[in-house]
Amino acid sequence: MADAEHEVNGTEVEDDEQDNSQKKSDVKRHDGGAADLERVTDYAEEKEISAANISSAVEQFGNQRNKENELRVAKEKELQKVQVKKEDIELIMNELLVSKAQAEKVLREQSGDVVAALEAIISN
């Protein structure tokens, strides 16, 4: 243990120097493999592109995404409106050995009709 501590003390000076030169420290690196690969190719990440057109593009793509989200939310809402019975979900799970999430999803998609839901999974 004493040895180890000694070693630690030995390298600390260097660390301080490194630390001073690079204050930015929020970045954390992980896994050996990925990190090593990154180090080798640390290149394009910070390459900036010209500012022209960008803001309008960002806005345009943002709008597009909002539309998509709205559609998705609407669809989900529609599905959530469907009344499903807990026992139906359990029946599907038990008979077809599927997860609860999947059973519920299919049941909602079939507007709560349990026979249709069973058939949908079977013929899938």
């Binding site: 630690v8 990925a34 190719t41 803001s55």
Partner: protein, 892 residues
């Protein structure tokens, strides 16, 4: 950084240093720093520091402590994004990606625009194929850093992966417009252009793709890809004339690419066989050394034209002595007309070569110079392989023996002889020949592997391992080394050998090892998520993602999974006794002679077991050493790799729930190997045993979609009906389930009873033994009193019209008694009949006969060894004398 529990400047500086140390992998320093902060009584419970301490410990491989500290830290500071992020990183290093994603999401709750966390999250989402989530995260990153190139690429990629091609293309298009200067030979830019082109093609906008390609051609450095894609697009856009010169130049570049010829013919719009052959003739002239233009016409030509091209092709191959000549033409044998022509030609060569040394009488008459002497051997080999393919064992052996007599040292001949025996059903004789071949060239890895494989077919696992050891790393057991190298063919063959021997646990172990290789391959993707995006190798990256999605479609996985499922089903049907009870056999009721036999058997077994356990102990020591050295090596490269449980054969075969384990192997098959009917038949066997009626129905319907007349499907339907009736008898089904079943069974068999269905089936398929077998099986299944009729149905089938595999299937069913009940006398009679029909097949031979043969062989081997030793002795002493005289001479 913002925190709910901020440290004062001094400690804050220490904490930042701690982060730095972690990043630089100076874990010991990091621990020291953490200790410094925590030793201050005011900050003993500082959450972020505790969490970082845990993460640092993880870096040192102290996993349990790591979890303890990270969780403690998190509990002390639940509102810190650092703590959540750290917890996520820890889970991720433990490969618990689902959990890690949850942690990152929590972290983002407290700091929603943290770039690093978002990037980490996106990696996990793509690894887990949460494509919607990935899109979300990528968009977030894009809005945060729209000025960075990587943001655009990732954003476009996320749309491409959910097949929203328009949006993906829009993003890339906008991006490329905002780029100002392009350097010459910029590989990344070039790849990006090709990636965009790929998106256009996938969205079926071919004209746009072509225009794009033409426009940017000067900037793209991968010229080959440009040519190939352009040619393909011209054909698809009905501008064939423009594609012709492209494929001509591609063929010039590589005259052995089959695809180029296909595309060339499509461009020329040639379909008439003679015209196609003529086109190939031109290429033959142009590229006299290329094989493709000679081999490909054989596929399209027919009749007399086929005879001409085949004649040329075969003569050339036999003259040069091309060993895989038969393999090259084997696919042609699927057409019987072509097989006959090939046979006639080869017979003609053989006859004339024997007589005059020419391929034909015309050659001899014309005074053409004689062919090389080796041509006769290659022709005989070719004929042997041909007859082997036709399963005419006698003739195949006749020709291979001629060849071996002519040139006894040619390894290919011995391999072929072994293969003939393998196909004739004698794996032991087969391996003997392969071993002989192997001994002739011990430095050849191909023959080494072949020999190992044949040994495994003969259930000789340890011998196979020994053979393989000649090429594995020294100092490690061959089995471990082969596992490490993911040598899956070997492991699968081992699993099958153990399955045949009834060593279920060992078999399962091998299957699980193969399954782990696949898991590892999926795991290995992770590094590429960052690497490919940076290197801009986007086409290859998308290819990789799509490959990984269907990875378990690979035949290696299918084979191993099928074996595992079969073994688990077997273990469910006949569970193993616990180890203690195995020994207690009912000794008292045995007659003395039997008892004696049993005792000597037990003694032998015990001796063997002792020997084996001693060997195993040795191997264990070796393994541990190896493990240790591996761990040390791992420590340096990848301290995060989680330790997998060791696979123990005894535990595997005594699992509590074999069917659940079987389902684990089945699931990927159901998803990825839908087109193989075995998948659904196996699924049926599992669900039949779980008595899940709807899932049985599902398997039947899926199997029917693949091949409605598959014989085994019939027995599935009958057993399904039987289960259905039995279940209803016990208690009425749920109304909804009943409704589904009623409708489906009506579609399946109408109003017929299972008996009627079976009778019809037997009448309809009376010319196919495999169908009759299933019919007979169902006959007995439905009514046990019809046993004699059922057995007669299969045993009376004309044996000369059956293949070896079919006969083995029927015979093993009779012998094992699990299909028709005990029927030893019928089995023995059938065995005798089969033996006459398939004289080489080992299963049909008597045990005594085989043992006598084996002893004879052992004795011969021993004699040979003794002789060799004597010979060695003589050689040794004489060489000693020589060396003595040499030294004497030197001394004088």
């Amino acid at each position: 950084m913002p925190s709910n529990d901020p440290l004062p400047p001094k400690e804050g500086a220490l904490f930042r240093k701690l982060l730095k140390c972690y990043e630089l992998k100076q874990y010991k320093n990091g621990l020291k720093l953490a200790k410094q902060i925590l030793s201050n009584p005011k900050y003993m419970e500082h959450g972020e520091t505790l969490a970082m301490k845990g993460l640092t410990l993880n870096g040192l491989g102290r996993r349990e402590e790591a979890y303890k500290y990270v969780r403690l830290g998190l509990r002390n500071d639940l509102r810190s994004h650092v703590c959540w992020h750290v917890y996520g990183l820890l889970q991720r290093s433990d490969k618990k990606y689902d959990e890690a994603i949850k942690c990152y999401r929590n972290a983002l709750k407290w700091e929603k625009d943290n770039l690093q966390i978002l990037k980490d999250l996106s990696l996990l989402q793509i690894q887990m194929r949460d494509l919607e989530g990935y899109k979300e995260t990528r968009h977030h990153l894009f809005t945060l850093r729209p000025s960075q190139q990587a943001s655009w690429i990732g954003f476009a990629m996320s749309y491409h992966l959910v097949r929203d091609y328009d949006m993906a293309n829009n993003i890339l298009e906008t991006f490329s417009q905002s780029q100002n200067s392009i350097e010459a030979h910029d590989y990344r830019h070039s790849e990006l252009l090709l990636y965009q082109n790929q998106i256009l093609i996938e969205s079926e906008r071919l004209q746009q793709a072509l225009d794009h390609l033409i426009k940017y051609e000067p900037q793209i450095v991968d010229k080959l890809a440009v040519r190939e894609t352009m040619g393909d697009l011209y054909i698809k856009l009905q501008q064939q004339e423009k594609a012709v010169p492209i494929f001509e130049s591609l063929i010039r570049r590589n005259p052995e690419n089959v695809l180029y010829y296909e595309q060339y013919l499509a461009a020329r719009q040639l379909t008439d066989p003679s015209a196609v052959v003529a086109a190939y003739r031109v290429f033959q002239e142009q590229y006299p050394r290329a094989l493709c233009p000679r081999r490909l016409p054989l596929n399209v030509a027919s009749g007399s034209e086929f005879r001409i091209v085949a004649d040329e092709y075969l003569r050339r191959g036999l003259r040069k002595g091309i060993p895989p000549l038969f393999v090259n033409v084997r696919t042609l044998h699927q057409k019987s007309e072509k097989a006959t022509t090939i046979e006639e030609l080869a017979l003609q060569y053989f006859e004339n070569l024997t007589r005059s040394g020419h391929f034909s009488r015309e050659d001899a008459d014309a005074g053409v110079p004689v062919e090389p002497a080796s041509a006769l051997v290659w022709t005989a080999l070719f004929l042997a392989q041909h007859y082997d393919y036709m399963r005419d064992t006698d003739r195949a052996l006749e020709y291979i023996n001629v060849a071996i007599d002519h040139t006894p040292t040619l390894i290919e001949l011995l391999i072929t002889k072994g293969r003939i025996f393998k196909h004739a059903g004698d794996p032991v004789e087969a391996y003997v020949w392969l071993e002989e071949a192997q001994s002739m060239d011990t430095a050849d890895r191909y023959i080494n592997s072949k020999c190992a494989k044949y040994m495994l077919r003969a259930n000789m696992v340890s011998e196979a391992e020994e053979i393989c050891a000649k090429f594995t790393r020294e100092g490690v057991s061959a089995m471990d080394n082969l596992n490490e190298m993911q040598c899956m063919w070997f492991q699968t063959e081992c699993a099958l050998a153990y399955q045949r021997m009834g060593r279920w646990g060992e078999s399962l172990k091998k299957c699980h090892e193969v399954e782990r290789h696949f898991a590892e391959i999926v795991e290995d993707q992770f590094d590429f998520h960052t690497y490919c995006m940076r290197k801009m190798t986007l086409r290859a990256y998308v290819g990789l993602l799509r490959l990984e999605d269907v990875l378990r479609q690979h035949p290696f996985y299918f084979k191993a999974a099928k074996c595992a499922i079969e073994v688990y089903i077997r273990l469910y049907d006949k569970p193993l006794k616990s180890e203690a009870t195995i020994e207690e056999i009912d000794i008292e009721n045995l007659p003395p002679s039997e008892l004696k036999k049993l005792r000597s058997k037990q003694r032998k077994a015990k001796k063997k077991a002792e020997l084996e356990s001693a060997q195993a102990a040795q191997a264990q020591v070796k393994r541990e050493q190896h493990q240790k050295s591996k761990q040390q090596a791992n420590q340096e490269t990848d301290p995060d790799a989680p330790q997998l449980d060791e696979l123990v054969a005894d535990k595997l075969e005594r699992t509590d729930d074999p069917l659940e384990k079987a389902i684990d192997f089945l699931k990927p098959l159901q998803q990825l190997a839908k087109e193989r009917i075995e998948t659904h038949l196996l699924a049926f066997e599992v669900y039949y045993r779980k008595n899940k009626l709807l899932l049985m129905l599902q398997s039947i319907q899926r199997a029917r979609a693949v091949n409605p007349s598959h014989p085994e499907l019939h027995s599935c339907i009958i057993r399904f009906m039987k289960s259905l009736a039995a279940t209803i008898k016990q208690q009425p089904l749920n109304d909804h389930v009943q409704q589904v079943l009623d409708k489906a069974t009506k579609e399946l068999i109408g109003n017929r009873t299972p008996q009627q269905l079976n009778d019809e089936f037997i009448a309809k398929h009376n010319a196919s033994i495999l169908h009759l077998y299933e019919g007979a099986r169902s006959l007995y299944e439905l009514d046990h009193s019809k046993r004699a009729a059922a057995i007669k149905l299969v045993t009376s089938f004309n044996l000369s019209k059956m293949t070896l595999e079919e006969a083995i299937k029927v015979y093993t069913a009779l012998r094992d008694g699990d299909v028709f009940g005990e029927c030893d006398s019928e089995a023995a009679a059938y065995q005798q009949a089969c033996h006459e029909r398939f004289q080489y097949a080992r299963v049909f031979r008597n045990v005594e006969e085989l043992e006598a043969q084996l002893q004879e062989k052992e004795a011969a081997k021993l004699r040979a060894e003794e002789e060799q030793q004597q010979l060695n002795h003589i050689n040794f002493s004489s060489s000693e004398q020589v060396s003595d005289s040499v030294t004497a001479a030197a001394a004088s």
